[in-house]
Assembly symmetry: C2
Homo-oligomer: 315 residues x 2
């Protein structure tokens, strides 16, 4: 039995391809630019070449590989193996990527969305190991999630379960890209932090954030950097982030009563900065019996979570 799988993390800016063993160890991986604006077929050729390249570098053959897992930004159709029409992959319209890779490599190929696959990777190889009920939340540009129930990935009726970023936390809140108002994502994503920071700068408040951003557009990272330097406006923004995260997480606890919630994604790398305030809000806002059994932790998998998630859907 072959004990290796290939994981492909297709993103809007880069394609990360790796060989992973069944324990979740990344044997080696290769990153290439997606060059998404060239459209789907050149991108698929780059995916194929990446797969051949990792095999060559690892000195392996296709016979050593059990299957290929691929993750893509949504919307996708996991059952039919289609990348439907992600906003950051221009020109992709119901592209049968599973069929195309299966024809090329004569191996089992599976497709899932990034949040689902990341949840599965955390469950199999990271902070979710051995748990029955577990929710993974990625907090970066947007907010997404994946749900493990009874030790299995819960996909819902058409693979959309765990869209935690689009749960309303204030029905009177700002409009979200999804059409709803006051989504969790509009308050607590990296994009939201940047929006609140820009507002503070526009209001003329005294802060290092603008200086740190320089010529670039202000982003969440600038806020974190300013906070480390003791900037009061940045510390206030992080306090607000912690509060909003606490509200959104309380909603997840109320519905799912999970054993653990793991936070991944760029914003969560800074979890230490807002953990205490976030937990304060969760404790104030959730039923005690449900908080008592739920741990909230940071992802253990970092940058490899994409290819590990892709590998996990095959394993």
């Amino acid at each position: 039995m072959s004990k290796f799988v290939i994981g492909v993390d297709l993103g809007g800016t880069k394609i990360n391809t790796g060989i992973i063993d069944e324990s979740g160890k990344v044997i080696l991986s290769i990153k290439v630019p997606t060059l998404a604006k060239e459209g789907p077929y050149p991108v698929i050729e780059r995916i194929k070449k990446s797969i051949y390249d990792v095999l060559i570098e690892a000195n392996m053959k296709l016979e050593d590989i059990k299957g290929i897992g691929i993750i893509s930004p949504g919307p996708i159709d996991s059952e039919k193996g289609l990348v439907v029409n992600p906003s950051n992959l221009p020109g992709w319209d119901h592209i049968p990527i599973v069929k195309l890779l299966r024809e090329e490599f004569k191996l089992p190929v599976m497709l899932d969305n990034d949040a689902n696959a990341a949840a599965l990777a955390e469950y199999m190889f990271g902070s979710g190991r051995g748990l029955k009920n577990f929710v993974y939340i990625t907090v970066s540009t947007g907010i997404g999630g994946g749900v493990i129930i009874d030790g299995k990935l819960y996909r819902g009726t058409n693979s959309n379960a765990g869209e935690v970023g689009h749960m309303t936390i204030n029905y009177n809140g700002p409009k979200c890209n999804c059409g709803n108002f006051g989504c969790f994502e509009t308050y607590a994503s990296g994009t939201a932090i940047a929006r609140f920071a820009k507002k503070a700068v526009l209001e003329g408040r005294s802060t290092l954030i603008k200086e740190l951003a320089g010529e670039k557009e202000i982003n969440a990272q600038h806020v974190f950097e300013a906070a480390i330097k003791g900037d009061n406006v940045a510390l206030e923004l992080i306090d607000e982030e912690a509060f909003y995260l606490g509200i959104g997480i309380s909603n997840i606890i109320a519905f799912a009563n999970p054993e653990r919630i793991t936070l991944g994604g760029g914003v969560s790398n800074q979890l230490d900065m807002f953990y205490n305030r976030m937990m304060e809000t969760i404790n104030e806002r959730s039923l005690k019996s449900m908080v008592d059994v739920c741990q909230i932790v940071k992802s253990e998998l970092k940058d490899d979570i994409g290819i590990l998630g892709a590998a996990a859907i095959i394993i």
Copy 2:
């Protein structure tokens, strides 16, 4: 094999006890007052007597019965068979009701909370039949819920999953009994409808609601009655109810991506009055692909849902 079970629906005001066959048919049932203020042991004696009484009336023996299911208001500990300390059962403190009934009747006895059991009853005998992913919501004094995933009741880590009434829909909203602010329940329960109605009356608005309530305290039913008579304030309140229900249901759709959501409980009996406006909100506020696969319907089980739920946990 005995093909009958006994279901006991223990409530704050009445105890409903029935004999149910495995297809969910209620053979017969008996209602007695709980007289909860007498404390736990007299109430347990009344439960025992009710069980003997239904057997006698049905001309059955204990040998004809496969087991006894009992549902109680929460909090309960389903695993240990304890009624912990429901606010409407004064003096109950970790009462081992399962042990006590098992000793009396020498039959399997199981305990669950009312929302979980109702979800299971809808799944086995009502609008959830044959579905994989299904959420039941009860909208009455409060708002509760039960979740079926992959054809099984999902209880969460300590039997609290599906506390949909305590999901925040406005983090700046009014304080809820649970300690949180702006819970779904504070906007869309029967109690909330009554609160909004009282406010309208206090503000001196011209409405039939006060007249219909007469000497009694205004409740949701008075609002429904006034609306049927074309009362403008009542129609406005029902419009608001529909909007808030739509927000809360959208949150459930975003997380669980269910095939169907069934609404039960007193307020839901009037679903026809607010269905269209509620669906408008859901369509505006949810991801289209998730709404497209989710039907929202009224409970088929009506008053018997309690004893059917109790029976379902044994079947």
